[in-house]
Amino acid sequence: MLLFFVRRLSLFLFTMLLLTWFAFSLAHLFPGDPLINLTGQVNANPEQLIALGQQYHTEDHMIFQYFSYLEHIISGDLGLSMASQLPIASELANLLPATIELSIVALAIAMITGVPIGFVAAIYHKRKVDDVILTFSMIGYSIPIFWLGLLAVLIFSIELGWLPSAGQLSLIYEIDHVTGFLIIDILLSDNTYKWQAFADATAHIILPACVVALAPATIFIRLARTTMLEILETSYIKAAKAKGLSFRQIIYRHAVRNAMIQVVRHVGLQFASLMTLAMVTEVIFSWPGIGRWLIDSIYQRDYTAIQNGLLVLSIFIFIVHIITDLTYAGLNPLARERSYGS
């Protein structure tokens, strides 16, 4: 396990180096002065620029420039957004939690619905139920998410009027920013309308989370189904059958547990694609998350925001990836043996 951990750590450091170098080189790839692209100081006067140039070692070799950039990143200085002139670090501190919140709820929905359905499909393998589930999962996997979002708004918000169509919380509730995670902030706040706000926030997250969850849910269905089918073929299940355990006992005691390990392994990969789906969904549901912000930044050619926003987003995705990898390794000793380069 230790070796595995060290190997992952080295991969992590390697990736961080790659990502920060990439973000750093973006400043040079984008049009305009790399220094302004890095800092976002579009209104700086010449003296300020000279001072900034010294801070970022623009006169020195590229490597020194890179290290001074790294220094700024590590100290939490991500520059200013060119468009709004607000510090990007504080903007991200507001936005990233909203996206994470949406992704986590969506992930939960996807797993809670997808995995059991996949198990059911496997249990009823080669029967009608299996076919129906597979057909639906194929359609769910093929629907363009932005279209699905529009249809969901039309049906659930406008025609039926059950759920709100936009935003994270009705604006009439005033909640202080503490953690950035709205639901936690609501619970922490001492607003008189706390519980109404909580109910309102819950109602707001359902629709976008379900839209984001659909495609990952179909993947979990397939995954759970395949894994379960494989497990049902293994010798330990056969042994359990031979011991005279009932079908129900076999499924609950052995199959589900082992299948879940396989599912966990994919959560990391799924989380990344989930975040992407969440980014697109944010545009439709006006969710105040990083996706909408990033896409706006692209429209506005706000290079500082693009570059550092992407950096933070990919670091976050990668951290999740590593964490699930470690969890999986913790659960499944076999996984630790895999190595590269042989």
């Binding site: 991969l11 194929m138 363009p144 932005f146 529009l150 697109v280 692209i298 590269y340």
Partner: protein, 298 residues
């Protein structure tokens, strides 16, 4: 699988023949395949079969509903948008932009990916380790996100989108090719030709490629459905095709402003995307079955 064969010498169908065989056995896949071929034809011949130009404004027939509506007009079978452009023509033209370009994108990245993947499979040691780490990092980034990154660098536009998606898809092909080749290398028939004194590259081209081609095609269908969705998503977000081009995603985004007065401008492009992705996925599904069937067969 038990096989009752009278003759010792049996003729093995090539993987492509096996693929076709297995396609014909499943009607659903066959339907998907026909739809796929239909879309390819549409994309190829779109300039000939469209009733109108896709950017021609018919200012006397704005927002005409599709023909089955009471207020519809047969000369505009699927209605018109807010500038009086014929929806049918735009959708057909869009087939070559969204579906057609995704097809080309996949072929280019397949070509590049397979070359890199083959080279990777033949390298060992530190280089290979580096490549694997690199691939791990790249593959863990979702394709759409990666495409957004590249578009962010190059600036919005259809060419940039296509370039971005090509680049994004390459690592998947590298990965599949490399894994498939390493797997095959351990097999006896490779050993046999090796003992015959065949060079690595000869083995690769004459022995291994014919045996992994179905896996690569399967990956290509997966890549194709991802490419369609990504092109459309970027078009929808306004980062892809510029305004007058009838790319399906961009059409849909354009239709949003008309959602409540002319809902067909939103429904139709969405359905077109859904249709093409399902067709592609059905072909992919058939491919998956075929690959698995062949595995069991061996």
């Amino acid at each position: 699988m038990a096989r009752d064969k009278i003759y010792q010498e049996e003729e093995f169908p090539s993987p492509i023949q096996q693929l076709w065989q297995s396609f014909r056995e499943t009607p659903v896949v066959m339907v998907g395949f026909c739809c796929f071929v239909f879309l390819v034809a549409l994309a190829l011949f779109s300039p000939i079969i469209t009733p109108y130009s896709s950017i021609e404004n018919h200012l006397d027939s704005l927002l005409v509903p599709p023909a089955w509506d009471d207020k519809g007009n047969v000369s505009f079978l699927l209605g018109t948008d807010n500038l009086g452009r014929d929806m049918l023509s735009r959708l057909i033209h869009g087939a070559s932009l969204t579906f057609g370009s995704s097809f080309i994108v996949v072929i280019i990245s397949l070509f590049l990916g397979v070359i890199i993947g083959s080279l990777a499979a033949l390298t060992k040691g530190l280089k290979s380790s580096f490549l694997n780490h690199f691939l791990d990092v790249v593959l863990s980034i979702p394709s759409l996100l990666f495409a957004i990154v590249i578009v962010a660098i190059l600036g919005p536009g259809l060419e940039n989108t296509l370039f971005a998606i090509t680049v994004v898809l390459i690592p998947q092909f590298v990965h599949v090719t490399r894994n498939a080749i390493s797997e095959e290398f351990d097999k006896d028939y490779v050993l046999a030709s090796r003992l015959d004194g065949a060079s690595k590259y000869r083995i690769l081209i004459y022995s291994i490629f014919p045996n992994i081609i179905d896996k690569i095609i399967r990956q290509a269908t997966l890549a194709q459905s991802a490419a369609i969705l990504d092109i459309a998503a970027l078009g929808f977000l306004g980062l892809g095709a510029p305004i007058p081009l009838p790319e399906w995603g961009a059409m849909l985004a354009n239709g949003i402003d008309l959602f409540y007065i002319a809902p067909w401008t939103v429904y139709l492009p969405g359905l077109a995307i859904l249709f093409s992705v399902i067709a592609t996925n059905l072909v992919g599904e058939g491919m998956r079955h075929a690959v698995r069937a062949r595995k069991e067969y061996q």
